[in-house]
Symmetry: D2
Subunit: 247 residues, 4 copies
Amino acid sequence: MSVKAFAVIAGIGSGTGTWLARRFAKAYPVALLARNPESYEALVKEINSDGGRAIGISADVSSEASVKSAFKTIAQEYNDAPCAAAIYNASGGFVKKPFLETRVEDLGKGWTVTVKGALFFSQATIPLMLKHAEDDSAQYPPTIIFTGATASVKANAQMSSFAAPKWALRAMSTSLAKEFAPKGVHVVHTVIDGVIDIPKSQDMLKDMPWNARIGPEDIAKTYWDLHTQSRRAFTNEVDIRPMLEKW
Amino acid sequence: MSVKAFAVIAGIGSGTGTWLARRFAKAYPVALLARNPESYEALVKEINSDGGRAIGISADVSSEASVKSAFKTIAQEYNDAPCAAAIYNASGGFVKKPFLETRVEDLGKGWTVTVKGALFFSQATIPLMLKHAEDDSAQYPPTIIFTGATASVKANAQMSSFAAPKWALRAMSTSLAKEFAPKGVHVVHTVIDGVIDIPKSQDMLKDMPWNARIGPEDIAKTYWDLHTQSRRAFTNEVDIRPMLEKW
Amino acid sequence: MSVKAFAVIAGIGSGTGTWLARRFAKAYPVALLARNPESYEALVKEINSDGGRAIGISADVSSEASVKSAFKTIAQEYNDAPCAAAIYNASGGFVKKPFLETRVEDLGKGWTVTVKGALFFSQATIPLMLKHAEDDSAQYPPTIIFTGATASVKANAQMSSFAAPKWALRAMSTSLAKEFAPKGVHVVHTVIDGVIDIPKSQDMLKDMPWNARIGPEDIAKTYWDLHTQSRRAFTNEVDIRPMLEKW
Amino acid sequence: MSVKAFAVIAGIGSGTGTWLARRFAKAYPVALLARNPESYEALVKEINSDGGRAIGISADVSSEASVKSAFKTIAQEYNDAPCAAAIYNASGGFVKKPFLETRVEDLGKGWTVTVKGALFFSQATIPLMLKHAEDDSAQYPPTIIFTGATASVKANAQMSSFAAPKWALRAMSTSLAKEFAPKGVHVVHTVIDGVIDIPKSQDMLKDMPWNARIGPEDIAKTYWDLHTQSRRAFTNEVDIRPMLEKW
């Protein structure tokens, strides 16, 4: 079956990625990237058996060669289709540490996944989105969304290793928005301000009421709403927080 | 017919208000406020004949008595229903003037409509939204949206009379978001960054391509998308601009 | 004795104003504005007996007529001298109140003093600063400084009546900086982020260590440092906080 | 001669560093770091013959070993003195390039010098500043200043490789300010918004009037003013621009 356009999501293992994949799979064949196949195998099966179409690809977003290889596989599987939506949901992991105990590796991990990975992912997807932007029959403008966090706009004590790469990613997203909007590509940065209600956060969440937690399915709704904006109304940044969040 | 909940929009004459009214009227009976009945008469007729329900009320948002009187009328017409959505789309009008020629009246006009009006409108609607927030059968959290502009986040030369009230409104929206989110009310400020494609802007628009203009129907889509966010994913600010906007 | 240039400070009663007056009086004859003569009488006497030169003028900054009258007095006393430095240190007073109990008067008080007063003060001083900017023998560029607060950049719950005017003032300062820097006038906005160690704050301060409080004499040092910047290095905003402030 | 406290400046070759060194050398023995000895040799001679005290050290700030070795030399030369002031003025160099032509090396260069270098420099200096903070006879609180640029707060099209590291540095500075202010260390980030009037910018400057350029000696004045703030009035960020800058 020929694919008209696909969606790609990097960072499937996070819990949020699962819901993003389900949402975008209602409209597009999806390609799901994660380092570990266990992160996507059940989800690929679920989407394919629910009438959608999904492929999973093991990839290390911090390696340019690995990202290139993943997009070669996508091109083969999805017959060189253009890209309708790309979501960069990978992150170097939370770090909080007294500054004088910080090692360059702490900072480097965030840099590698959050920033370098975003560079490789964007360079692989944007050309495929420029192609989609020229397709007058496309329903929505091609959209690339970068997932940020509270630390993308705040930099609290002991948080420089986490915040510095997040601020850098926000800068990159802003710069891309200005460069590619005139060519029809919609670029968005999100500030996910709170704890997401996903399995790996259960320890942190156990005393938090349901409405102090961000719903991953609700993040997916907002990402879809952003994707379906017209070229006459691009949103380039949104914040997302649960009703009980202090900010 | 009993009304379960209504939506109210202040500032219908602007062009954007028309599209907001059409969108929200698909889901709720709407109350449309404008100083001049000519601003809403045709629209009220259109909505009512299309199967929706609308009332128009002549009101001066800068007068507390007038706002109170308008909400008394709404209570009568819509049987004391709670408020599901409220949009403050009124504005004191664009002013650009050398500072030394600025009169206190230039500044005062923006203050009166943009800030005082928002105070009166919020005080009238928030109690009706708190009531809606307690209704477990409500589909979406009650939402109040304040329409801002480029000048809400920038303050260029000769623009203090326009920007000062807009910055003040953004402060008010932020403060309300923090006070009322824990009670289930969703408060949003929007930065409409560009020229909206509405009749009254035609002079300014005549040399601008379609995709350098913001679509008012696209603003309405985004406002609706914001209203339908869950209590586990409130967005408190969005920017909206056309693909060809420089920023 | 002929006056080459003078400095003017509005808002002397606040405690900080006293230190600002002392600092600027080392370099310029000063004019001190306060509603109540008791706010400046002892200070005027002190400065004049310490070898400086000071006049006090009773003025209501929220009244255009009163501000004009004050500057007429200054012109007479200081022989139509240009203005080297102007500090707007007046404020409508702190307000924190549940939004639904807020009255338009709560908001209006801040608006009147913080924003309208700044307009009148700026319109009175900027022409006298443009004159100073043309004087090649002037040692420093003419400088107008607006005193802001934490609430100039944050808008917490229940703070809209305080924050809205402060955000508006910040917008005005930014706009003035952009309009008048090219003409040689240096415009600055300060974010005083913390409690100032002045007599009227003693209740709030009693359990706070000395280094959790902002020193009013230290604010004066920074204002003077800003005034003495050259036309090749204007700072348009500074934050000021004590070492123990959380932010 | 025993040294009570020293100042250290990284990034001497830039032109601004020269003026920073001259200014701080009026008060402290200085240590000047640059990759290339040619960058500091004449300056070290000048300061020493003008009655100041200076040492130059060849160091690569992007190498942890090189930074450690430099501070070992400083400790030997300046008898393990505490550090009164540290200025991180190094930068990865300006890059502007279409995003799809950007190489990971373009981004990496900024990351290495601007962010990793700042980490190494901060980790070497902060312990020596904590020591100085405990010295009650010290005249001014120890101060570390990071030099940023327009791109620290803006991220224009084609500028992601330059802006991303600058935003990251601003995050790091903010985080350090919050962690170390309570321990008496003053941390500042500066936004140098314009072209500095230094030899290496002459091509860019040739059609710009003198007051459209930032004076490097004026940057030095502001850095000194920041250093001399008391613990009751820390400024954590300043912007600096010439009077003719558009912003």
